[in-house]
């Protein structure tokens, strides 16, 4: 990458990182990572989902009690304010990025994000 472009990209990335939607995402992420209850809930949900998936793959029957337990856990996750604040912040940050791409693309005359995605493996 050209050094001028790299420097400009880094400067822009820093501003983008400090912008309100992205900064809010990072704040919500930090809160989530620091919240023991939320972390335990998510770990338990993942563990339970993986266990049921394994049972399914092995052809074992999943009981109604197991399904109910999974649903209760999912409800707890959806009721956790720290987790849901993170989910909402991530959605809002991701919803902002097409606007950013639009600004870049309009000046260049092509879809910057689309072309960058097409350039991947």
């Amino acid at each position: 990458m050209d050094t001028t472009v790299e420097a400009a990209a880094r400067e822009f990335a820093l501003k983008l990182r400090a912008s309100s939607p992205i900064a809010a995402f990072w704040q919500a992420k930090a809160r989530l990572e620091a919240d023991e209850e939320a972390q335990n809930l998510l770990a338990e949900l993942q563990e339970r989902q993986q266990a049921l998936m394994l049972k399914q793959q092995n052809g074992s029957e999943i009981t109604q009690a197991e399904i109910d337990a999974l649903r209760r856990l999912q409800w707890e996750v959806q009721s956790n304010p720290v987790i849901m604040a993170y989910v909402q912040a991530q959605q809002q940050a991701q919803a902002f990025l097409p606007d950013v791409n639009m600004e870049i693309s309009q000046l260049l005359g092509f879809d910057f994000g689309g072309l960058a995605g097409a350039g991947s493996g």
Partner: protein, 136 residues
């Protein structure tokens, strides 16, 4: 007395509004427009648009492709039609202006990916993934 989170939020208070970030995006795009890779693509695109033989080859291929679209979607294209379409595509891609355009686009694509990856790493979200084809 403010909580730990209020202190952290105050310290981490964003200094860039959405509009300022979008302005920064425009300024960044202006730098990208000076890249040799972009200039090459821009010139190749212009050359392609102005090349009568290339434009005719594109038109013929696209018309044929469009007329066979339903059969293509159903996987019911005859071998003769498939061969004909592939021939027209080869003729289109063999045009020097088209070859130059495709090459320039591929190079630009790699460059854009590098830049997008750098930005995505900094913000912790994928810029390219958030902007699929037809996004803009």
């Amino acid at each position: 007395m403010e909580t730990m989170w209020q202190t952290q939020e105050r310290v981490m208070e964003p200094v860039v509004s959405r509009n300022e970030a979008l302005q920064a995006a425009r300024e960044f795009a202006a730098v990208l427009a000076e890249m040799p890779g972009y200039q090459t693509f821009d010139q190749a695109q212009l050359r392609l648009r102005r090349d009568p033989a290339a434009q005719e080859a594109i038109r013929v291929f696209q018309e044929r492709q469009q007329s066979l679209q339903m059969m293509l979607m159903l996987g019911a294209l005859s071998e003769a039609d498939r061969d004909n379409l592939q021939r027209l595509q080869r003729e289109m891609l063999a045009q020097p202006a088209m070859q130059a355009y495709v090459e320039a686009q591929e190079q630009l694509s790699l460059l854009c990916r590098e830049v997008a990856d750098l930005i995505s790493e900094a913000i912790g979200l994928s810029l390219a993934a958030s902007c699929g084809p037809g996004c803009c």
